[in-house]
Symmetry: C2
Subunit: 340 residues, 2 copies
DNA sequence: TTGTAGGCGTTATCAA
DNA sequence: TTGATAACGCCTACAA
């Protein structure tokens, strides 16, 4: 049987409340007494039962981490593990715990999250998805990683995806590209919509338009291979593509090779997420690091600040991204045009 | 304020114990009464506080999931997310929750796991690493995913890695390969040692030996590029390599291309983990699916069985693997030899 | 500075 | 079948 506070009290010959005070930095106790009790507690391997503590403190020190239902679709993406690591490090520094909330076939994640709240498991909720339309009437603080639709009322941590995509497109434009496609657009994901907007903005500033025929969904290499082939068979084809993810870029590069087109000689690629795989790809991918670890750290820190009352909702935290120029973007020789 | 059992009792005009019974399938209550109370509880949006329940029941219905400290190293590997999904589905079916336990810079995962146990957060522990030398004197059940060194005393879920690697090597041998290398061996990981043994076994049965100069560690493509170049420059070079992971295989394929060697024409590759990326790689990778999702499901099921007393430690559960033949292994034309 | 008493929300035991 | 009571382990007024 594990030792309780009463056991420690008995051994120390004091009352349980004295033990409690000795162990929680209360100032209503003498220093010698504190030391003596701490020593005894250590010897008895006493650890306060957190369930009992949370019952009286009405705070569990557990943060629920809600996974998207389609996390399975993104299994190959190192994004989630990196975020988790960030969340974990920030949490454990403050002795907080994380409850993993995933959906199942019968129970969608949103419902599981609600159940976790209702049963008092969690003191807060961090959503790894901006799309799950989490209930605003939550009775615990909610922090979203990503860009919720009703952002102005919420607490969230995100990159500036418009800006990131703007920079990506700008990078291509500065390298002389004027025919730019987009791979991985999915209207249901706010971040892809944002990025599309960023690309459009950059193009417009350059007096160009985003060609809708060059807008491809995430699985295009597999599901729309024919359409891709047609587009890239045209003389007027994209000379560069912004890809939502390194993996997509790699897939696209391979697909293009099947068409006899090489990256970067024939088509330049810029993508997102700075994966290890992209770094060692041939050619090494020019990519934007969104710093998922930092997203996790900041999200957890924001949550803890809200819980401690230091910050009040709504709150938006921007995590800076980094454009990493490598070899998948080539300077286009457009003759006089580039000097115009 | 959230409704408590007392609130429900007051509204229903009964005692709290009656409400408790109505809500937990006790038979010591009349059917009309049960229905009436359940109705009222629903209307009041009452959900029993799990912290209070676990206090009196001495069972939290929370399973701690311990991540390896170096999970960051394997970020690109979809293994962990898939396992998590399996764990999550199996858990939520039984209304169990998962507490995510990761290490941090200051606190190694093993210590965090101990803390979670000590503070009564978890009713059980599932280790996503076989190497963390989890304390056997745990006061909650422990299930290991992978192959612990002291396997005979433990509960664990794993593939038969010796057999899997044996099958992989056999597959190569059957395709005429007799010069077989191994990429990704790390003595500290039991599973790579097991796989090495499996390869050795298959080779020995074919009257061959595993050439130690053809045994490469995980990062060899980056850290030992020169050694690789030398080995593959020899006339007597491996015609096939068993890779511990699809990503390694892909990296190796690219490295070999740099040496002017093509997969599978010059070198055949068989790897592990059946990643999406490997499936769409050119050539599509012949790979062994270890079914990480199933590993998760089985691990959680085993845990729940132990908690319910249906199973007593030790227990070993074998999750079958699947060899998926694709295009990265080519039949070697060894002339008369193959007909010998 | 320390001890006593009551309660956090729930359930199990016993009595009615 | 239902209710009263005590307890799970801890914390915090309040009293001493």
């Amino acid at each position: 049987m594990k030792a309780t506070i009463k056991d420690v009290a008995r051994v120390a010959g004091v009352s349980p409340s004295t033990v409690s005070r000795a162990l929680h930095g209360s100032d209503r106790i003498s220093e010698p007494m504190r030391r003596r009790i701490q020593q005894i507690a250590r010897e008895m391997d006493f650890h306060p039962n957190q369930m009992a503590r949370s019952l009286v403190n009405r705070e569990t020190r557990i943060i629920g981490i809600v996974f998207p239902d389609d996390a399975g679709m993104n299994l190959g993406n190192p994004f989630y593990p990196a975020v988790l690591q960030g969340l974990g490090h920030a949490a454990s520094n403050e002795r907080y715990q994380m409850l993993l909330i995933t959906g199942s076939k019968e129970i969608p994640a949103a419902e599981a999250a609600r159940a976790a709240m209702d049963s008092g498991y969690v003191s807060g909720l961090i959503l790894l998805t901006a799309e799950d339309a989490p209930p605003l009437e939550a009775n615990v603080p909610v922090v979203v990683i990503g860009h919720p639709t009703d952002a102005d009322k919420r607490c969230y941590v995100d990159n500036n995806n418009v800006q990131a995509a703007y920079d990506a497109a700008k990078h291509l434009l500065e390298n002389g590209h004027r025919s730019i496609g987009l791979l991985g657009f999915e209207s249901k994901y706010v971040f892809t919509a944002d990025r599309r907007r960023g690309v459009q903005q950059a193009l417009q500033e350059a007096g160009l338009q985003l060609n809708h025929a060059w807008l491809f969904p995430a699985g295009a290499c597999r599901t729309q291979a024919e359409r891709l082939r047609e587009v890239f068979a045209q003389p007027q084809r994209p000379t560069a593509v912004v890809c939502m993810d390194d993996l997509m870029a790699i897939e696209l590069a391979r697909t293009l090779r099947g068409f006899g087109l090489l990256v970067p000689q024939d088509v330049s690629l810029i993508s997102f997420n700075n994966t290890e795989l992209g770094r060692y790809h041939q050619p090494a991918l020019t990519t934007i690091d969104v710093h998922p670890y930092q997203l996790g750290v900041k999200a957890m820190q924001l949550m803890l600040e809200i819980l401690s009352g230091k910050t009040a909702p709504p709150a938006a935290i921007d995590v800076p991204f980094t454009l990493i120029p490598r070899d998948s973007v080539i300077k286009l020789n457009t003759g006089s045009k580039t000097h115009a």
